[in-house]
Amino acid sequence: MSPYQEEWLFSPDTGERRRRTDAVPATSQLIDEATVRGIADESWFALIGEDEHLVPVPEPLPAEVVSSWVRVSGPWNGTVVLTVGRGTATELTRALLKQHAPEVLEPEDVEDALGELANVVGGNVKGVLPAPSLLGLPQVGEAPRPADPADVVRLEVLWRGQPLAISVQGATRALVH
């Protein structure tokens, strides 16, 4: 349990506490990059392959990227976004489908695969964030921008030498009254 959750649950409900918690805590107070990395590592190990590693070397994404994301709604509101280059998206789809991958992948196969990766990572991220919360269905396209560019926990790694980013980004501005 994070210090924020402990305070929220166990401290007396004074007006002071309520005023401070009306402004939702920063995402980095609830989850850190190492936790996101652990979730990503486990997801890649199980779904992509035991010999597939995410290497913690940040490199810029290519100009042409595609993102998939899931929304989390609850005490913390925001999105968990996976972003890769278009070529990497295709390679990830083949890696997920393994021998069942068709010779020519349809765009919907790539969207499906990328969305499912965001769903698995996002579902596990949701489990770390304050409950109760709801997980939305995966979406694919141009990622939603964070409400506050500073309110993002971002993991940047290389997979098969290609850059890949996972962002846990809050939608705090929408909630501040």
Partner: protein, 120 residues
């Protein structure tokens, strides 16, 4: 034995089917459903011996499908395969009559642990 695999992701249905085979359950008939509504219909039309269902799906969630099945008197063995494995989700699943909840990501050992005793 006939197993109904329900997930709105075709890719994930393939991964579930592949993991079933890797776990040693490779001589069973597999039927696929693309959401909870489709799964509900196929329990009637296909009479599976086991349902493996995602939770979060459009049209009808896996939980709504299970609740509809139990309300209609169906006792088909039902387990979830979902990206959310929190204690709250597990409690909800058990209360609705699910036998188990396999959290994604999973491997063949996770499947064996959940399915041994369910699949003969």
């Amino acid at each position: 034995m006939k197993i109904l695999v329900a997930d709105d992701s075709r890719v994930m249905r393939q991964i579930v089917i592949r993991t079933l085979r890797q776990a040693g359950y490779d001589d069973h008939d597999i039927v696929e459903a693309e959401d909870g509504r489709d799964a509900l219909d196929k329990v009637s039309s296909e009479s599976p011996d086991l349902v493996l269902s995602d939770w979060n799906m459009p049209n009808m969630t896996g939980l709504e499908c299970l609740q509809a099945l139990r309300s209609a008197g169906s006792a088909v063995p039902f387990g979830f395969v979902t990206s959310e494995g929190s204690p709250e989700m597990r409690e909800k699943a058990a209360n609705a009559g699910a036998l188990f909840l396999i959290a994604k990501p999973f491997n063949e050992d996770t499947f064996k642990d959940a399915l041994d005793g369910v699949i003969a």
